[in-house]
Amino acid sequence: MKTKTGYLKLVSMQKRGKTILKDSYAEGAFKITRPVYLTESGEAYFYVMNPGGGYLDGDSYQLELILEERAEVFVTTQSSTKIYKTRACPASQEMVIDLAAGSVFEYLPDPVIAYQHARFKQRTLIRMEPDASLIIADIFTPGWAPDGRFFPYDWLQSKMEVYMDGRLVLFDHVKLEPDRGINSMGFMEGYSHFGTMAVIHEQLDRDFLEELVQWMEPLPDVRIGVSLLSVPGFSLRMLANSTQAIENVLFGCHEVIRKKLFQKEPVFLRKY
């Protein structure tokens, strides 16, 4: 097998109400911070760093996360993931996540920015116990030229599979190609930015989702779709013209979910 550009493995466990790092291993251009604790609830926050700066032809990154029973982990990035010209061989990122009983995993990375001629493939595999919880989001944006115009990338592909008790409960596949003019209706609808979020939590029901919809429907400059999954949870997709418009929705949803479902305080990710 070809060596990865960056590989990271993280095993976390719960000890007296606090999530600690049990084991970690990093190789190549992928680094992760020691856990930090931003709230009183004991969940561990990790920041993934890519000292290489951006993804180039043939770069491949792999991230493996294991959450043992009742471990609570929040992962984000230190800055956006930049994909440069990768026409010869698409850049790729793979995540494998195992969530044991009662664990909580939150993943809210910075946007993936795809520059001209960028090709990027992302795969996520999640295996979870029915009482584990999951919040996972992504933002895909085009890179911009110095004059502020957006560069059209070639394509961005993201595939996520979630298995619960060995059964595939969510298969989320998007392959974005900037609108090619004629077929813009139905595809990107003329928007440039794409955001997605999936949430799975035992207590998530229709009433909760309706409450969330009431909160986000009036938000400007975004086109949002949200629907219940076949397991307690929902999937959200949105189109917009700026990262900020998407982050407003994602962070807002995240706060409501933390407050109403997790009974936890909101968190402010200090990055800069």
Binding site: L168, K175, N183, M185, G186, G225, R237
Partner: protein, 232 residues
């Protein structure tokens, strides 16, 4: 049993006849959202929408699923059919569309079973009843065509045609448009249907499920439309 070309043709005509009670006439697959948003309002905009739906949504989801199912039936790989059924259900993020496919799949199994003695359909029905499968029109359609020894190309083409044909009829009622405009749109879609079959044949298995984001969002938003003519 020798099945002649003519009887194959007749079977396909019957399966795709708008009188065939699949229940698909109750579903717009997101089209109604576009109509209410004012984005689809005449022949031109409707044709544009139909083309995107066919080439960038249906092709990557149910169309490719139909191709997979034909292959699995040919090779008698039933386990892979059940995997496909599970995947089709799990990848359909809008709840209404997920349930629509399930409902239409169920109706097709029932009807198919009553008119063609396809042994698979009884197995499928039992599996669904036990909660081990969900039911999907692409799989049912492929199983009937496999039973009738209809070739792969024609099976995919006919499956796409029947889906698109019903949607055009639904558009004619929902927008509304004249029957002539509807028939003209359907005719104009012919070369695109042929092209889409070719596109499906050339797809990598990895392309499966890459749905069009705009249409997916519209299918999700349909749940919250105030006045609805269609169930999805």
């Amino acid at each position: 049993m020798a099945i002649t070309m003519d009887s194959q043709l007749l079977a396909l005509l019957q399966l795709t006849d708008s009188n065939f009670p699949s229940g698909a006439f109750s579903h717009s697959y997101g089209l109604e959202t576009y109509i209410q948003d004012g984005a689809v309002f005449n022949k031109e905009t409707f044709f544009e929408w139909m083309r995107t739906y066919l080439e960038r949504q249906l092709a990557y989801t149910d169309g490719l699923a139909c191709r997979f199912a034909i292959d699995f039936f040919l090779k008698v790989e039933l386990e892979r059919i059940w995997e496909l059924d599970q995947k089709l259900y799990a990848m359909n993020l809008p709840e209404e569309t997920r349930l629509a496919n399930r409902r239409i799949g169920d109706r097709l199994i029932q009807m198919g079973k009553d008119i063609f003695p396809v042994p698979f359909l009884e197995t499928y029905r039992m599996k669904i009843r036990k909660g081990e499968a969900y039911g999907h029109p692409a799989i049912v359609f492929a199983s009937i065509c496999d039973y009738l020894s209809i070739d792969r190309h024609q099976t995919i083409l006919t499956f796409l045609y029947s889906t698109v044909g019903t949607l055009v009829q639904n558009g004619v009622r929902g927008i509304p448009l004249g029957q002539t405009a509807g028939q003209q749109i359907l005719l104009e879609l012919h070369p695109h249907l042929i092209q889409t079959v070719k596109q499906i044949e050339e797809m990598a298995p990895d392309d499966f499920g890459a749905a069009a984001p705009g249409i997916e969002i519209a299918q999700m938003r349909h749940e919250r439309l105030c006045v609805r003519l269609f169930m999805s």
